[in-house]
């Protein structure tokens, strides 16, 4: 082993140890459980069922519907989080002087306990007491505070419940992007300016390519988290009305915890993992390091 290899290994070892000890075993267990009929509270009693749990999950209409809703939810949330967050980062870096206070105030949503954030958004949106619609009336967007039933209209509820997510996590996108932007060597931008590139060109040809890894990580982390989110939605609607805001990970949670069906829930969890892996790998090769594609 060369000195370089030894150095790499030494630097990796602690992280490997932590993840190996605390995550590899549970992940292995998840995959293992997915081949059994087994109850969550009695994991020692199990019956091998092969791929039955996978077949059940893949043929269940409920699972398919909740998977579709997960896509609607994640794409909607990710789009707005990224748009607002990235714009915020660009604005912050364009601000004269340091934007420390702007950034701190922008991070306020993350400082509220998630359960309170969920309830807060429920109470902002729910009829009778929801001040959100009164705000829209004040701005002249709607005429009647009862005009939009955010949390009980089956057609829009899956989007309404993502407001809380967007509110909570835009600052993640903003701060990480901002840190990425500050890492871009100023002299590169200066050189481009001297070459006569305008602001848009500088952004497109200098800033954006250098931001690729940061953008990739943001997209991957946020997409994974949005797809994993269920507690925020659970607090707001419990997946209702009539399952209209039930997402895939909520379905997994319900089966695993509330219904105790560990085997089937593990199969769904494993499927979730596989799909997310494929998406993340795509994001890695396409955005992070397109040169290696």
């Amino acid at each position: 082993m060369s000195g370089e290899d030894r150095f790499v290994l030494c630097m990796l070892a602690p992280a490997l140890a932590i993840l190996g000890l605390l995550v590899a075993y549970p992940v292995g267990l998840l995959v293992f459980d997915s081949f059994f009929k087994v109850d969550t509270i009695t994991p020692h009693i199990r019956e091998w069922v092969g791929l039955k749990n996978y077949i059940d999950a893949l043929t269940s209409k409920r699972v398919a519907e909740s998977a579709l809703r997960t896509i609607q939810y994640s794409v909607f949330a990710l789009f707005f989080e990224f748009t607002f967050g990235f714009c915020a980062a660009l604005l912050f870096s364009a601000l004269p002087g340091r934007s420390r206070w702007h950034r701190t105030v922008f991070t306020l949503p993350l400082m509220v306990p998630p359960i309170v954030a969920g309830l807060l958004w429920r109470f902002l949106l729910v009829g009778n007491i929801g001040i959100f619609n009164y705000g829209l009336v004040y701005l002249g967007i709607i005429t009647d505070p009862d005009a939009i039933a955010w949390l009980s209209d089956e057609d829009i509820v899956i989007y309404s419940v993502s407001f809380a997510d967007i509110w909570l996590t835009t600052s993640f996108v903003a701060l990480v992007s901002y840190a990425g932007l500050t890492n871009i060597p100023k002299d590169l931008l200066e050189a481009a300016r001297i070459d006569g590139a305008n602001a848009l060109k500088r952004f497109w040809h200098v800033t954006l390519p250098l931001m690729r890894p940061v953008i990739a990580v943001i997209v991957i982390v946020r997409a994974v988290d949005a797809a994993k989110t269920f507690d925020l939605i659970w607090i707001q609607t419990q997946g209702g009305p009539n399952h209209a805001s039930e997402v895939f990970s909520m379905n997994i949670y319900q089966r695993m915890v509330r219904f105790g069906d560990l085997g089937e829930a593990s199969a769904s969890g494993t499927l979730f993992l596989i799909v997310m892996m494929l998406l993340a790998a795509a994001a890695y090769w396409k955005i992070w390091r397109p040169a290696h594609a």
Partner: protein, 419 residues
């Protein structure tokens, strides 16, 4: 890292070692600590056994107890569980039959005894119980002008509602547009679209032999009583328009808030809310209570009791049982707590007539009504409700679905789940 781990493990052993005096650990939800604190103090004073409460949020009781059972050993000697989990945990707790003496049995409403029994085993002892009763605005009901107007319109006197028809009439009567914008802003009552227990109470009032399942576990959610109850449940919203229209957003909290904010004239609600009415609320001092509504089978409700159980893995089973026996014998001690609930007839009766406890008489009457019974004791109860019952109620509340078909579909889903 390794040193760090073993050092803290060692530290733990040293801390745990000197705890020689017997201690029992109780896992409870916040309300459970409040209601059992007084009895625990008395128990420690009399027996020398320390009682330690571990308080967690509601869902935490289920999650933590499940994790403990799955791991094969338990740090808890008593767990206070919601009745909806009784069937689920029945196989992992001690049989407490010995504690159900004749005196204890006689002192408990029959529905609470029935819920304690799962598969021939007495799995837990009621700690306290609750049920939905009728709340109404005393000030409005006693106003001569209202009384006169009601009598003229409906041909019978205005008094706390007893029957389904009276409930609908009075809800319609009180629904008003007070600010003249053409839309009601004061309602007769509310309809809850995010929970299904209230509908289940109406099912019992309609004379169904059971809710969702009958005694033999057959699915009866499509019987006539379920249908009639669902039609009644949605009528104030779909036909009478005497409730706020966003029914599928209304849960217990919203219903209670509408009433406390003086926006509804009546509500069916869990009895504890009577004592919990905030002193600075708009309706403070104006709240009247009556037993739950009656249908063809008389008054009935779905009780909301909590049970003290002893996990099979407990290391202090005898002390735990001693505590549970002591708690039921001194059941009235919980009443002084803010929630003010108990389980035994005698505990409730010891407070009857005391000012501030007017809700005890209707509560006890409702709990002891012959048609009152618990939710079906089935391990898959939670799944049945989440997957079939609540969606059925929510579909019916769209006012567009055929009630018979909705229930027939629900039956099919439930049979699938039970298979």
């Amino acid at each position: 890292m390794k040193n760090f781990l073993s050092a803290s493990a060692l530290a733990l052993i040293f801390v745990a070692a000197p705890a020689n005096a017997e201690t029992i650990n109780i896992l409870v939800e916040g309300g459970g600590e409040m209601l059992q604190k007084a009895v625990a103090e008395k128990f420690t004073a009399e027996t020398g056994v320390e009682v330690k409460f571990t308080v967690v949020p509601y869902q935490g009781v289920f999650d933590k107890f499940s994790a403990e059972i799955a791991s094969g050993s338990s740090a808890f000697d008593v767990v206070t569980i919601d009745v909806v989990w009784n069937a689920k945990f029945a196989g992992h707790v001690e049989d407490l039959s010995r504690l159900f003496t004749d005196a204890v049995r006689k002192d408990l409403p029959p529905a609470l005894l029935a819920d304690a029994q799962v598969g021939g085993k007495m799995i837990g002892m009621p700690a306290w119980a609750n049920a939905e009763i009728v709340f109404y605005r005393k000030d409005l009901f006693s106003k001569p002008a209202e009384q006169k107007a009601f009598q003229e319109k409906y041909g019978y006197p205005l008094a706390p509602p007893k029957t389904w028809q009276q409930w609908r009439d009075m809800a319609k009567f009180f629904t008003r547009d007070t600010d003249g914008d053409g839309k009601p802003d004061f309602w007769g009552t509310d309809t809850i679209g995010t929970f299904s227990e209230e509908w289940m109470a109406h099912v019992l009032q309609a004379g169904s032999p059971g809710v969702i399942l009958d005694k033999d576990g057959k699915v009866i959610i499509d019987n006539e009583a379920h249908k009639k109850a669902l039609e009644f449940y949605i009528a104030p919203h779909c036909t009478d328009h005497s409730v706020p229209a966003n029914v599928n957003e209304i849960g217990w909290g919203e219903a209670q808030n509408l009433f406390y904010q003086g926006k509804t004239a009546m509500m069916k609600f869990w009895a504890h809310a009577y004592k919990m009415t905030p002193a600075d609320s708009k309706v403070s001092g104006k709240v009247g209570v009556a037993p739950m509504l009656a249908g063809d089978a008389g008054s009935a409700a779905i009780p909301g009791p909590w049970y003290n159980v002893v996990p099979s893995t407990s290391q202090h089973k005898e002390a735990a049982k001693k505590f549970i026996a002591f708690a039921i014998a001194n059941n009235a001690l919980g009443i002084e707590a803010p929630l003010g609930l108990a389980a035994t007839n005698s505990a409730y009766r010891s407070y009857s007539g005391k000012p501030g406890y007017e809700h005890f008489t209707p509560l006890l009457e409702t709990l002891s009504a012959p048609a009152t019974q618990g939710r079906p004791m089935n391990e898959k109860y939670q799944e049945i409700v989440d997957e079939a019952v609540l969606p059925a109620v929510q579909q019916a509340l769209t006012c567009k679905a055929d009630v018979g078909k909705v229930l027939a579909d629900a039956k099919e889903t439930i049979e699938d789940i039970l298979d």
